[in-house]
Symmetry: D2
Subunit: 141 residues, 4 copies
């Protein structure tokens, strides 16, 4: 299973606030998209996983905002699995600026934010459950 992946994110207008920058809450779904695409690269969709009764609930989120992202920025999010136990997965994230379109000066590759999250595996009734063996098996981290 791949333990690192990158996705491109285009900042939506509705994700930006009156300061003209992406609101800090908007980053949280981007991290989730990073996890989703990392899982897809392993050959499975989270949609199928959830349909099979395996749910992943977030129990911790830590985000550091270093530089603002602006409307229409093209960003690159790198997602990495840094810990994996029988019941939890830990990810780390790096969000970088790829391209800015509003005509202002910018530094491509600049680090905008970092984050880490912990997910816990639960069943449909919200009780802790073991991760599927194929997901937990190789003992990364």
């Amino acid at each position: 299973m791949p333990t690192l992946g990158t996705i491109a994110v285009r900042v939506r207008y509705c994700e930006c606030d009156p300061m003209g920058v992406a609101h800090h809450a908007a980053y949280v779904p981007w991290f989730e998209m990073g996890r989703t695409e990392l899982l897809r690269a392993s050959g499975l969709s989270y949609a199928a996983l959830e349909r099979a009764g395996v749910l992943l609930a977030i129990v911790r989120l830590d985000a550091r905002y270093k530089r603002p992202a602006r409307y229409d920025d093209l960003l690159e999010l790198t997602t990495r699995v840094v810990g994996l136990s029988r019941v939890k997965i830990e990810h780390e994230y790096e969000l970088r600026l790829l391209e800015r379109t509003d005509g202002t000066a910018h530094a491509p590759g600049e680090l905008l934010a970092t984050a880490s999250t912990t997910l816990a595996c639960i069943d449909r009734d919200g009780r802790p459950a073991a991760l599927p063996a194929w997901l937990a098996g190789d003992g990364v981290g």
Copy 2:
């Protein structure tokens, strides 16, 4: 069952966009909140309704944006049932400015937006279903 209700809405920072006004997508959940509270005033929560297998899916939304709402504005939303058949409910909405806090001039009571929606009753598998008798029974509209 009451067919008209009002709620107060405080505009959240994250609902505002780089123009410094509430993004047009933010109004859509407010209309939903208006419907929820109107239902609650009839003695039932939509949460309980859904738990009983009665789902209301939106099939049409028409919104007219007349004047911008700003961050931290206190708004008044009036929601009205204007049509009710065995399988559908139609609502109309008026959104007015109650109070503006950023120190700029404003006209309390000013009409900011109007909207109308149509909801269809469906079951858990997404098939059309009849509205519960107590909800559809009095033939408003």
Copy 3:
């Protein structure tokens, strides 16, 4: 200037509601993304336009929801300019299902929703303004 464009949209987890389908408010930013990419195809970003003091405010939104979109669905949104005056732009939208990943049966190409919007050109103080000549000039519709 191109008057028709298509974009792909992947339904985010956070855009879906307890019915397991995309919430109707989530479609509204997708329509905006369709407009943004249609403008970009003409060689200009909306970010640059806004930086030049040309703002486009939505005054009307009409959406028809026909079939639900589900988490992780890959959708195709077609955006079309259907009217253009000195101060307003009208768009129409068709949202279709391209690919479903949760293992359930589906009909690729199925029409999920249609919509239309009207945008008005305003200046930074919210006053009506004329569209830039290059945008309004060719008199589509």
Copy 4:
């Protein structure tokens, strides 16, 4: 200036995900609302502050999700200033369940989540700035 405040939050339908619980990204605006109302209790709106050129940008967010919040839950958020320097403010948050309306068993007062954030004061160009004296002056924490 008060350094502790509580607000009530009603969980919106659109804030809930296919697991039937509030999506973890939805909590982030609630924390912001807690800060806004704490500031208002000191006699000033953040809207007026921003209008005066004083912007508060989040630089760190740490959230711990303990128990899910459900659609239509009435929650109580307690926000506390725990640190205050010339350029930064630190807050801590506790989110508790007040009332659940879907008919399922629940424990009123149950702790659902905790969080902490750090805000930095910036000017309109995004440069670090000193907090207004009245805000920073009393040296809490």
